[in-house]
């Protein structure tokens, strides 16, 4: 089994430090800025339109089980519902994992109750469909078509079914917003959805939607960490290229320490 080495202690230490430091300073009242993410602004638009048309919305948390990715999806779901609850709009959540189903139900109920309209929560809107990939896809396609949804949201782990879902949503005329950390599926969502959240914007989504200090702070901390990683990559590239042609033993030792620290 692989365990941490010195470089991992250091690097993870730095990343964790940045994230926690920024979280706590944001909680202490420091104001932080994050840029506009068009896909997430569109969520308001989608909810508003669904209300006008008197049609429901659908939120799919993808095929993942209880993972960080899916929990993030549920966190986004919570925020979408709090927007929807203001208009008393209905939202259907088909899930593919029985364990996730129970948590999703709890999330939705809480979100309605926190807006003070717990009575409009309908248990049947949170559904377990199937844990089989294409059975789940056909179940969701059925919901999209039967309920004539006006807004569809796809956040979570998606695989080959991504285009099947998004293209059907497009056909029923829903406004669609998608986000997934599965890089291979992003092109399909871009082609078929109105707005797609790319890469790590996925993890920025809940911060953006809620503007909560903890999440904003975490986001800024993440950016600092990425800067550290970028810096390491640049050092690596420069020294590797430089040392291939020079024989200065001093530099060589530093360079080998550097690459060796990351291995094994």
């Amino acid at each position: 089994m692989q365990h941490a080495n010195l470089m991992v202690y250091l690097l993870e230490g730095i990343i964790v430090f940045f994230i926690l430091y920024k979280i706590f300073s944001a909680r202490a009242g420091r104001r932080l800025f994050i840029r506009r993410i068009p896909g997430l602004t569109a969520i308001d638009e989608a909810v508003g339109r669904a209300t006008e048309m008197g049609r429901p919305m659908m939120f799919s948390p993808g095929l993942g089980g209880i993972t960080v990715v899916t929990l993030q999806a549920l966190s986004i779901l919570g925020h979408i519902i709090s927007i929807a609850a203001r208009y008393r709009a209905r939202i259907i959540v088909p899930t593919s994992d029985p364990m996730l189903y129970t948590i999703a139900e709890e999330t939705v109920r809480d979100a309605y109750e926190s807006q003070g309209i717990g009575e409009i929560f309908n248990r049947d809107d949170i559904r377990f469909v199937s844990s089989d990939q294409f059975a789940y896809a056909s179940g969701v396609v059925g919901i999209l078509n039967r309920e004539k949804v006006a807004g569809a949201f796809y956040f979570g782990d998606f695989f080959a079914e991504s285009l099947i879902l998004a293209e059907n949503g497009q056909q029923v005329g829903a406004i669609q917003v998608a986000g997934t950390p599965q890089v291979m599926q992003i092109p399909f969502f871009i082609a078929a959805c109105d707005y797609t959240i790319i890469g790590d914007e996925y993890y920025a989504a809940s911060a953006y939607l809620s503007r909560e200090p903890t999440l904003l702070g975490s986001l800024v901390g993440q950016d600092y960490s990425k800067a550290v990683i970028l810096f390491l990559i640049i050092i690596g590239i420069v020294s590797a290229s430089f040392l291939a042609v020079s024989t200065a033993p001093f530099l060589e030792t530093i360079m080998l320490r550097f690459t060796g620290a990351f291995s094994g």
Binding site: S75, T107, D124, F128, F134, Y203, V245
Partner: protein, 438 residues
């Protein structure tokens, strides 16, 4: 206390049949349900604390397992292997410099030779250390086996303990851990052996190697590096590693309970749909029919006595349901992707901005360069123009910008996931599941 735990580790591996099996199953179920029931009885004001506590503890386990270095006995071996690896990296540096044509070729080669010698020395030391550690571990394994054997005998446990491996050895946590350690040591020894062989070969040929042979030799050095670093990983289990699998199993057990809840959800939605004759209620009927038929015939084909009419008939009905129904439906769903790709591409690729134009150009080259027609179109280009052939442009796009962009995203996603995990672990996430007092 320890004896009790030791006893428990045997209860699970003694095979049960007939009444005792049923008692075991029902007993486990009752305990499970009771436990879940007790959880629901936790007063509201303690719930949040309980969730935070359990999350935090579970997180600590995985955190410590990853952060604590491997067992101390094998540490000297790892040091030797690490030293060898460092030396080999120097060799790799030197050879790469030779390959790209640095001007001090002979100095580089001599340096490489020296470092290979160092590495060989370290590897040989590591090898003898592995051998010397393997012996006492094997003795401990035998002793542990004897202990559990006599335990089994004393308590008249069934001779056919289901926890016996194919060699008849008892497999409880202790013996399994030791067996795994021995396995890791043997494997590390094998890898060290491989690395030594590769390096001896390189050492013999490096002096007179031509420029063309150097990349080959570097390849051998690189695989020796891989072997060495894998050998280090294989002997670095710490004291928490053996518990990783049993602890992950807990999640599976909880998951098993929720399958029932999922089925209840499906049944209630479709049941209501039929009862109220909602539009499309016959689809719900199809759901129940499929569920019942599939379950029944899957059971029959497995448990009816072999070679009876019932068994044969259920096997063929199951086959019809599976290949004729499920398989065909799945294939259909997947084939839809082909149609959707065309309609989505047609709709999405509009030159609305310069970025969209760029994306369309890339898509054009990839789509046409990957198929025979594209290859045929630019067949005439040769010499210095070869790199402008459509298939070569396509592979450049796939291998360079595509990979670069993907890796860039992966870094962001990785850090984002880490931050999310950290917030969950420390219960800083005030997302909806911790938002209000549960």
């Amino acid at each position: 206390m320890f004896g009790f735990v030791y006893n428990l580790s045997f209860i699970a591996i003694v095979p049960k049949q007939g009444t005792s099996l049923w008692i075991f199953i029902i007993g486990s179920l009752i305990i499970g349900v009771l436990f879940l029931f007790l959880l629901t009885r936790v007063p509201n004001r303690y719930r949040k604390t309980l969730i935070i506590g359990v999350t935090f503890l579970a997180g600590w386990f995985y955190f410590l397992e990853f952060m604590i270095p491997g067992n101390r006995e094998a540490a000297p071996i790892r040091t030797q292997l690490k030293a060898a690896e460092q030396d080999l990296r120097k060799v790799d540096q030197d050879l790469s410099a030779v390959i790209i044509g640095a001007n001090n070729r002979s100095v580089r080669i001599t340096a490489a030779q020296r470092h290979i010698d160092f590495a060989l020395e370290d590897l040989r030391k590591a090898q003898s250390l592995i051998e010397s550690l393997k012996k006492p571990t094997e003795e401990r394994y035998q002793a542990e086996l004897k202990k559990s054997d006599s335990f089994a005998e004393k308590h008249k446990l069934d001779d056919k303990l289901s926890g016996r491996g194919e060699d008849g050895k008892i497999q409880n946590l202790q013996t399994k851990t030791l067996a795994k350690t021995i396995d890791g040591l043997s494997s590390a020894a094998g890898r060290t052996d491989n690395a030594i062989r590769l390096l001896q070969d390189v050492r013999a040929n490096i002096a007179g190697a031509s420029d063309k042979q150097i990349p080959e030799l570097r390849g051998a050095v690189l695989s020796a590096i891989t072997q060495t670093s894998f050998a280090q990983i294989e002997i670095s289990d710490n004291f928490l590693t053996p518990y990783k699998v049993p602890i992950s199993d807990i999640l599976q057990v909880i998951g098993a309970f929720t399958v029932g809840i999922g089925l209840y959800s499906l049944g209630s939605i479709h049941g209501k749909s039929i009862a109220k004759r909602r539009p499309g209620w016959y689809n719900s009927f199809a759901f129940f029919a499929a569920l019942v038929l599939m379950t029944l015939f899957a059971f029959f084909k497995e448990y009816l006595p072999a070679n009876t009419d019932g068994r044969i008939i259920s096997e063929s009905i199951y086959k019809i349901l599976f290949s004729g129904g499920l398989a065909a439906l799945q294939a259909t769903m997947f084939s839809l992707v082909a149609f959707y790709i065309v309609s989505a591409a047609y709709r999405a690729f509009r030159i609305k901005s310069s970025e969209a134009a760029l994306m369309m150009m890339a898509a054009f080259f990839v789509m046409i360069g990957v198929v025979t027609f594209g290859m045929w179109l630019t067949n005439g280009l040769s010499g210095s123009l070869t790199s402008l052939r459509l298939e070569n442009i396509q592979s450049w796009i796939m291998e360079v910008p595509n990979t670069a962009a993907q890796r860039g995203m992966m870094f962001g996603i990785g850090v984002g996931g880490l931050a999310m995990a950290l917030r969950l672990w420390l219960s800083l996430e005030r997302g909806s599941f911790f938002d209000k007092q549960l």
